[in-house]
Symmetry: C2
Subunit: 400 residues, 2 copies
């Protein structure tokens, strides 16, 4: 693994999660003030750490990110807000005991149960311990990744290494998404770190654009969390090493977009319950935004999702979900393929070998849906999971 | 049971459904030309019978309704359209072999599997058989009710008998629907029959208004069907018995609205595998339309639905679903009760006896959610089901 230059990582056991020995406090620190951009949940019911971090990005004075898992600090009112600020204040003090850093130089994320006050003393102790363990090693990076997970079954990371004008550039990313197996923890957190130099507004623009084609195109059940946060840390441009521009910015954006998609897809792909990752590709809408609406409508249909669970090439459910997306489609020019098999064309059913299509769904973790809606140039791709009894059991049996 | 005067009913076994002995062809006939109004799916992928019936209502020359279950005649292109027209043509001929009735005097509905051509000869034979059995008896009415069912567990009917200016007036209704139930018209068929005299546009206005507070406020999984149809047949006004007006119309509308809600609630109550009927009452939105959007967002959240399955008073899921409904709410004035227990107020969690609330959810088929969003006078009520493994199993194992 090739980590970006100038960043250190730690993830420790703070005792917030009930599972013994689970890391639940993560610290990521830049050696010098860095650039930070953020994309946040658009839910109006928004957790305290989101309010705090949102007010601090984009910025070029950030020194790090502090995260706890096991408690979302959401729906916790003024005390929750005070606790979120306290986490950043304590991170600043723990990293530079001389008091030169301020709370405002840190962004904060929380994920876990909603509606419980943070065990703030445990978290502060965890932050102190993490500050002592900060390192730029692979192991430290992995510990940091583990510290943001909740019920994920696997650590979710990705990296890119490429050359910009002969200079080796790195981007690494980590995320968590309880997804299928997330009871009250359906939060998505993602952190992307690069040593490429970016201006704050540039970083914000690139991050938002990457999010629109990746983290904004995944769903498990469409329930938007109170805590979703995507933050990117980037190097501060200097006179000697100015911010990326021209072809370099374009190449960086391409790499960033690709890795954001790779990272985002790990969320619906994960989870004990999920037996399928479903890729929904829409073509032929009037605009990309319209295609996005169609993809979302198909992705969120429980009937589509359960059909895939059962290996059922039930194209009627897919086509009818497209029909109520609220944007124009042209029924008599609509065509559908599942895993490459044409099932529906020009508004009429095709005869097909149902056994063969069913087998292709059952045999692969990935199900590919191609839907042409017959109007214009608009395209979109979304990723979701199937819906099976494991998901329901998990989310029903978890009780407060 | 008190049936409206002037209508006859039949439901017969046509051999369309695979289950032996299941009624699947229904005929409802008015002795004289009657008034008909209709409300239909807004899905752009719309079944042939909907296209045919939609073009024929409102009207004051209708003689009846012909319905088949077991096959939706949806996504069947031009042949499907021809078949739907053929059903009405055959109904006209079967009821009056002298050829005085026209196809256009019948509305048609189909429900069942999508994307298969109708077994039209079987259906025509069924229509002929039904025409021979038409009667104004209770048993005939129940047979008609059975003929429109698909995966429903129970027959769904309701009736009202009341006096308008001393004249006894009747409204009866039947509906079907268990899965694929989205708000904005469910995968459901409903027929309401009254002997009250109404003008066609008046019938249409009263029916749409009743639908907005009843059939448009129920959901199972939010998947809007291609076939949803609600039709009302009413008596033709005459010089002697003019159309309802004034207080009589108001009283009729009140009775109609109440029975539409009673009928509509039977659908989620009988949802595939449903163990709970969930009533979601929203108050304090800026407008009724906004309240409707909040209710819909809560009703469609799988996380809310699975929590109720498990008897989990997981208020965070409900409040956060309200937060992403896309209409304004005021988080710091938001308050939530489940089954009357206050759980969340002014944006902060209340302490409550989780065991007791959980027990109240588990002990009752009905779960009541009251959510105050703190802004204005807008109110709405929706009804949905919980989401359990039975639903998932059913919809996974059902194969085309």
């Amino acid at each position: 693994m090739h980590l970006p230059v100038g960043f250190r990582f730690a993830g420790v056991v703070g005792g917030i999660k009930s599972r013994v020995g689970a890391r639940d406090v993560t610290l990521i620190v830049s050696d010098t003030p860095c650039v930070a951009a953020g994309v946040y949940t658009t839910n109006q019911i928004v957790a305290a750490p989101v309010l705090v971090s949102r007010s601090r990005t984009p910025s070029n004075t950030i020194r790090g990110v502090v995260v706890n898992s096991g408690n979302a600090n959401a729906c916790t009112g003024t005390r929750g807000h005070r606790d979120a600020v306290e986490m950043t204040k304590h991170a600043a003090a723990a990293i530079d005991p001389t008091g030169k850093l301020t709370a405002e130089q840190f962004v904060v994320m929380s994920t876990g149960i909603i509606g419980r006050f943070l065990p703030i003393e445990k978290i502060k102790a965890g932050i102190s311990a993490a500050a002592n363990e900060l390192a730029s090693t692979e192991q430290a990076f992995w510990n940091a990744c583990d510290g943001i997970l909740t019920t994920d079954i696997a650590r979710k990371t990705t990296e890119r290494r490429f050359s910009l004008d002969g200079k080796e550039t790195h981007i690494v990313g980590m995320c968590k998404g309880a997804g299928m197996i997330g009871p009250k923890m359906a939060t998505m957190l993602a952190i992307i770190i690069t040593d490429a130099p970016l201006q704050p507004t540039q970083a914000q623009r690139l991050l938002q654009s990457a999010a629109n084609k990746s983290f904004n195109c995944i769903s498990v059940e469409g329930h938007m969390s109170t805590n979703d946060t995507l933050v990117m840390l980037a190097a501060q441009p200097t006179c000697a090493i100015p911010a990326l521009h021209g072809c370099n910015e374009i190449e960086f954006a391409k790499q960033l977009n690709e890795m954001a998609i790779e990272l985002a897809k790990k969320i619906p792909n994960d989870g004990e319950g999920a037996t399928h990752l479903v890729e929904i590709r829409i073509q032929g809408a009037n605009t990309d935004a319209d295609a996005d609406a169609v993809a979302r409508s198909v992705a969120l249909s429980n009937l589509v999702k359960t059909a895939i669970t059962g290996g059922d090439p039930n194209w009627g459910r897919i086509v009818s979900a497209a029909g109520y997306a609220g944007v124009p489609i042209r029924p008599d020019h609509t065509a559908l393929k599942i895993n490459g098999f044409p099932l529906f064309e020009r508004g009429e059913p095709l005869s097909f070998d149902a056994q063969r299509v069913s087998h292709s769904i059952k045999a692969s973790k990935l199900t590919e849906i191609d839907l042409q809606v017959g109007l214009g140039p608009g395209v979109a791709t979304h990723w979701t999971t199937d819906l099976n009894t494991e998901y329901v059991r998990f989310n029903s049996e978890y009780t407060t």
